[in-house]
């Protein structure tokens, strides 16, 4: 958070109040962008907490592995012989 150049500049200028303000605004902005997905997940989950936890882990794992191509996301073992 403090490595952000705008935050670092704000702190050096004695305007540290800008840091939590920017964090809060960014959080609201991010949430507004995914509000439909979050609502869809909440309305259709048998266990909302487990769904959020799994989504978070998958997203973090992809970020740590620097995955930018969905091909690298492990493929579920789904058989289609019974369809």
């Amino acid at each position: 958070m403090m490595t952000d150049p705008i935050n670092a500049y704000a702190v050096s200028e004695g305007e540290a109040w800008l840091v939590p303000m920017r964090t809060a605004v960014n959080a609201v902005d991010t949430r507004s962008q995914i509000i439909d997905e979050v609502n869809a997940l909440r309305d259709n989950s048998v266990d909302y907490y487990a769904a959020v936890r799994s989504s978070y882990y998958q997203n973090r794992k992809a970020a740590i592995n620097n995955v930018d191509d969905s091909e690298l996301t492990p493929l579920p073992l789904i058989s289609i012989e019974f369809e």
Binding site: D36, D43, V46, D47, S55, Q58, P74, L75, P76, I80
Partner: protein, 200 residues
């Protein structure tokens, strides 16, 4: 000899690309059916969902996904319980996809990339959805069986729908001692709530 080898590789490359294009065309047709259903104001909410559910059930590998997300509980269950579970799961899947697609119904989209994954024999189709604030990429995983295509997974922001469902179901199945018949009751109740929300 080198020339023939080059021709052979070229034919293989072209045929894989044609296959990917065929998958994209099929997927676009099916996505458009769902999005058109949302735009059609003459349809009642119930009929709209029934049309979408039919399209999803025709195109998703519902039984295979149901089996995968049930994990260990699948093996322990009898035939009748499995049948009820598959029906419940297919409705649950339709409600999830319908709910997600509802948010995209007033936005434009483009199928931007299609690639055949030789190792897993799966085609990956990227769908970019544009909105006023930016765009989001949804990746469809499509498999072919008996001259038909089936969607086996959806990935949004590196999050697989099927993997998330498996975690969610496993967590809930643990609470009912991996008893699929008890879980069927939970799933049925959840479907009822979701159905009311999407058709109200």
């Amino acid at each position: 000899m080198k020339f023939y080898l080059f021709i052979f590789i070229f034919i293989i490359f072209i045929s894989k690309n044609l296959y990917s294009d065929e998958t994209s065309e099929w997927l676009k047709r099916e996505i458009d059916i769902i999005l058109e259903a949302y735009k059609n104001e003459n349809l009642s909410n119930k009929n709209r969902f029934l049309l979408i559910e039919k399209t999803i059930n025709n195109n998703f590998a519902g039984t295979g996904i149901a089996k995968f997300v049930a994990g260990e509980a699948w093996k322990k269950s009898n035939k009748d319980t499995k049948k009820i579970y598959i029906d419940n799961f297919k409705r649950h899947l339709a409600l999830n996809i319908a709910s997600m697609m509802q948010g995209y119904s007033d936005q434009t989209y483009e199928l931007t990339k299609s690639k055949y994954d030789n190792k897993n024999q799966v085609t990956l189709v990227d769908m970019e959805i544009f909105s006023d604030t930016g765009s989001v990429v949804v990746t469809w995983r499509v498999k072919e069986s008996k001259d038909r295509f089936y969607v086996i997974d959806l990935i949004v922001a590196d999050i697989s729908l099927v993997v998330t469902k498996r975690s969610e179901f496993n967590s809930m199945l643990k609470k009912v001692d991996n008893d699929l018949s008890k879980f069927n009751e939970v799933l049925f109740d959840q479907n009822k709530i979701s159905y009311q929300k999407i058709t109200e």
